[in-house]
């Protein structure tokens, strides 16, 4: 089978080369050609330039029509709406500039396509024009920079406070763990040197001599109470990873040897997000695709795919090795009561190492 396929490919490549060389010979029939564009070429190519402008616009519109629904839904975190605002403002600006500049570029290419005997306008400089298109970007960018920096400072200033929930995100090839601070609200000291203590039960290397660590809770699924600020402390035990939570507009690298931070307040529970009309439509579409794929699987005697139910996810977003593509953790955003109840079912570090 392989041999046949390979041979077919080789034959096809051979045919295409033969065809191309025929094309080449045909194009050589005009023995007087100098291979420099003549009026006919200029005319055709100029028009194609204009057609290309249409192509760019149509591709843009079609992409939004066909794939607009794959974009992320409304942000599920408090700072997320600021983020989304800034994003839409930037996008509006980009589309405006893109539409105009591409139009000018390709329209001029079409309009001023060359003709023998015509002379171009000798127009080498205009200080006023230069000033205009220097100053306009300066002003626009100044606005964007100021707005961006204001938002950035708001998002990134992590202040320790009583109400906030402190959670450690712990990365390793190729999975995530989360550590909660427990009753005392303080994460115990930790280091990779302690990982082998207690027959490997010390999953994130908590220092057993630090009393703050005894009530810490280590889990494989991230639960967050809605409406409460969460301060994440990121650690990694081996290589760089990145904790990426796209629905919350949150991301921070996990760096071996140091602790990095990111904080946000989730505002939409998993349940609420599942009821979001956009999300319902998206999940429906995904399940339709999964059903289609299942048919093929079942025909091959394999199991059908399970229907998809929406959950928030934490993804690894820094290349970390073979299973980088599958380094994930489920995130559940729930009410304070549900969260408390879930927490009571978890074992503390003291219980685990007993």
């Amino acid at each position: 089978m392989t041999t046949i396929l390979t041979l077919t490919v080789l034959v096809l490549i051979g045919i295409s080369i033969w065809q191309i060389s025929k094309m080449f010979e045909l194009s050589q029939t005009d023995r007087n050609t100098t291979e420099v564009a003549n009026d006919k070429d200029n005319n055709t190519q100029g028009k194609l330039m204009f057609a290309f402008l249409a192509f760019i616009y149509i591709l843009t519109l079609y992409s939004f029509y066909a794939w607009g629904d794959v974009l992320l839904p409304e942000a599920a975190s408090e700072h997320g709406s600021d983020y989304d605002n800034l994003m839409w403002i930037s996008f509006a600006l980009i589309f405006f500039v893109q539409t105009i500049t591409q139009a000018l570029l390709h329209y001029f290419a079409y309009k001023y396509r060359g003709e023998k005997g015509k002379k171009a306008l000798f127009y080498a400089d205009n200080d006023r024009l230069e000033a205009i298109w220097t100053i306009i970007p300066v002003i626009t960018l100044a606005g964007l920079i100021l707005y961006g920096l204001y938002t950035w400072t708001n998002i990134m200033s992590v202040e320790e406070n009583e109400d906030a929930l402190v959670v450690e995100l712990y990365a390793q090839q190729f999975n995530w763990k989360a550590r909660y601070a427990g009753q005392d609200g303080v994460l115990g000291d930790a280091n990779v040197r302690f990982l082998q203590d207690f027959d490997g039960k010390n999953l994130v290397g908590i220092d057993a001599t630090d009393p703050n660590g005894l009530d810490d809770v280590v889990v494989q699924e991230l639960h967050l109470p809605v409406g409460r600020e969460v301060i994440f402390k990121m650690r990694s035990q081996d290589v760089l990873h990145s904790a990426y939570m796209p629905h919350f507009r949150a991301q921070m690298n996990c760096v071996p040897g140091m602790i990095t931070e990111f904080a946000f307040t989730p505002i939409t529970t998993t349940e609420e997000m599942r009821q979001n009309p956009d999300m319902i439509a998206k999940v429906k579409k995904i399940n339709k695709i999964r059903q289609e794929n299942s048919k093929e699987l079942v025909a091959n005697g394999e199991e059908a795919l399970e229907p998809y139910i929406f959950d928030y996810v934490l993804l690894c977003n820094k290349i970390c090795g073979a299973s980088h593509y599958n380094m994930q953790m489920k995130i559940v955003v729930e009410t304070e009561e549900e969260y408390e109840q879930w927490m009571t079912q978890q074992q503390t570090f003291a219980q685990v190492i007993q």
Binding site: L59, T153, D238, S242, L305
Partner: protein
């Protein structure tokens, strides 16, 4: 100074009669024109490998984890039963990036055209040092050979991404590619950097010292300005990458801890203490970001020259173009931190880098507007080179604009390292610079090989490539905005991303078509070297000095005296002149004013 004296005193007549063997003429040549061709052909060869790799992983991305005979044939044991192994996927992505950025778009583009055009366009007999120039090429060739050889080592080539962040790249336990493959990668890059530095120093010295009489800096063609400034950026930033590579070699082989600390891997606590991967990121991006402009500025320089020649109009705003090249060069060295907004670096630094990064949009916008204005009321000659130049302006705008999003630290949080980034940089530096390379090849082919390339095949090449380039990278923004990280072997581990499967298929189909279009170019290129139409001396009726040399190559470039320069390079369609072009060697007429530029 000795270099200057050498080149001026050099008796070209004597050189010409000097008997050349096959070895000194074609292999160990010190002639800049031959070295340019050597760079081009090596670069194209590496380009074929780099592009072929991207097509392989596009198959995997469109039809994940399915069995393909082509994988079995090409990848052998790395694709058991025809299914690509995840480690191999990462290796392909890594080597594709490395080859395209360094070997094709740095050496292949800048190496070719800096070598070819600097002496020819400034009126010099050769580079300041022909010997260093030759060594520069052979170091590049050696590093290419090592990089290609690394594909064949037992555990596979480097696979940590082209940025090779430690600890992934430092620890063989972390992935198979971080063993012998990574060692070869580092050795290859260290040699590459040496080659690049020798080349750059030569370009700088040549431009400063060997300009012919009358060729003031303000009369230099924009190509030369671009190559000159590119060389300066290279000299400033490449040594920093070399230091990063050397420190990484120390960490890997000699037990130091520059970039490593507190690591537990494969059931073992390693001895490393006190180093930081973030330090590596700083060192890497101090070259990594300027590298974007090392790739892009030569392409923009080539475009400036080709657009002016084919629009039969002076380039609009020569001074502003030079100023923006200088501004971009300066800013490029103080923006590297925008690759590290979420690296754990102090957020205040993030603010500073956002500020400097968005400033780059200003000179870039000036350049784009100036290109567009150059077309206005021109008499556009659509030679293939002109099409690629206009294509470059188009992708430079489309790709550059999304930089406003990625350069903004806030917005970067959620699109960092997603396919949005992949789409952005492929358009703005990948495709744009490739278009610059193609434009340069079509335009200066007659100068390099004394023959013309077929224009109709050039048209086919351009239009198929142009449509496919947007077809590949425009939809890719959507995948990124959906939140899909780059460097994922497949997105099937997340049912949430099931709905982007069809976008991936569309992208791949466009990519294969684009790949096929490059075969048309290759065919045209190779066929034309041997059987193309014989070129006239100045086929495009261009003003610059290279077109005053004879079609047949000769050592020393000009028979007899080197011509003197009397005007800038852009006197196209000047009122009061009979033709729509005036070569730089034509003296000003009585009463004719040179444009105050």
């Amino acid at each position: 100074m000795s270099a200057v004296a050498h080149a001026h005193v050099e008796d070209h007549e004597h050189e010409h009669h000097h008997k050349e063997t096959f070895m000194t003429k074609y292999i160990f040549s010190q002639d800049h024109k031959m070295i340019a061709k050597q760079y081009l052909i090596t670069g194209l060869f590496m380009g074929i490998i780099g592009i072929a790799m991207s097509l392989l992983f596009r198959i995997q991305l469109a039809w994940p984890e399915q069995s393909f005979a082509i994988f079995e044939v090409l990848l052998g044991k790395w694709a058991p039963e025809g299914v690509m192994d995840p480690n191999v996927y990462l290796a392909l992505v890594t080597i594709h990036g490395t080859i395209m950025v360094f070997f094709v778009l740095t050496a292949g583009l800048s190496g070719t055209f800096s070598n070819l055009l600097i002496p020819l366009q400034i009126g010099a007999r050769d580079m300041a040092s022909g010997l260093l120039n030759m060594i520069s090429f052979w170091l590049f060739f050696l590093s290419s050979a090592i990089m290609v050889a690394s594909l064949f080592v037992e555990a596979g080539p480097a696979a940590a991404g082209w940025t090779i962040y430690p600890p992934l790249s430092a620890l063989p336990q972390a992935q198979p590619g971080s063993g012998m493959g990574m060692t070869l990668w580092l050795v290859s890059m260290a040699i590459f950097i040496a080659s690049s530095l020798l080349g750059s120093l030569n370009y700088i010295v040549t431009v400063l010292n060997l300009r012919t009489k009358g060729m003031t800096m303000s009369r230099l063609p924009l190509t030369i300005w671009a190559f000159f400034v590119t060389a300066i950026i290279g000299v400033v930033s490449f040594p920093v990458l070399l230091s990063a590579a050397l420190l990484l070699i120390m960490d890997r082989s000699f037990g130091t801890s520059f970039f490593l600390s507190d690591i537990f891997i494969q059931g073992e606590v390693l001895h490393y203490q006190g180093g930081s991967p973030v330090l590596y990121e700083h060192l890497f991006w101090f070259l990594g970001h300027p590298e974007v402009y090392i790739v892009l500025l030569p392409a923009l320089g080539i475009t400036s020259e080709i657009i002016a020649t084919n629009a039969r109009k002076p380039i609009f705003g020569y001074r502003a173009m030079v100023a923006s090249i200088l501004a971009i060069a300066f800013l490029s060295t103080i923006v590297w931190g925008h690759h590290m907004f979420i690296s754990g670096m102090n957020p205040f630094l993030g603010s500073v880098f956002t500020f400097t990064t968005l400033l780059i949009a200003i000179p870039s916008a000036v350049k784009a507007f100036n290109y567009i204005t150059t077309l206005w009321k021109g008499n556009l000659q659509f030679n293939p080179a002109m099409l690629f130049s206009i294509g470059l302006v188009s992708t430079f705008i489309s790709g550059g604009l999304t930089g406003i999003i990625l350069g903004d630290s806030t917005l970067d949080i959620n699109v960092h390292d997603t396919y949005f980034v992949v789409a952005h940089f492929h358009l703005v530096m990948g495709i744009s610079a490739l278009y610059g390379l193609f434009a340069g090849v079509y335009h200066w082919f007659p100068k390099m090989f004394g023959r013309m390339m077929n224009k109709n095949l050039g048209y086919v090449h351009f239009w198929v490539t142009a449509v496919c380039a947007y077809g590949v990278f425009f939809p890719m923004h959507f995948i990124g905005m959906a939140g899909l990280p780059r460097r994922y072997y497949t997105n099937t581990a997340f049912p949430y991303f099931d709905d982007i499967a069809d976008i991936n298929v569309v992208i791949s189909l466009f990519a294969f078509t684009a790949g096929a279009a490059q075969l048309v170019f290759l065919y045209n290129f190779i066929y034309s070297i041997f059987y193309g139409k014989k070129a006239e001396q100045n086929p495009w009726k261009s003003n610059t000095l290279e077109w005053t040399t004879p079609v047949e190559h000769m050592h020393g470039n000009w028979p007899g005296e080197i011509p003197h320069v009397h005007r800038w390079a852009y006197d196209y369609s000047k009122p009061g002149q009979e033709e729509d072009w005036v070569s730089q060697i034509v003296p000003l007429k009585e009463g004719e004013e040179e444009l105050q530029h």
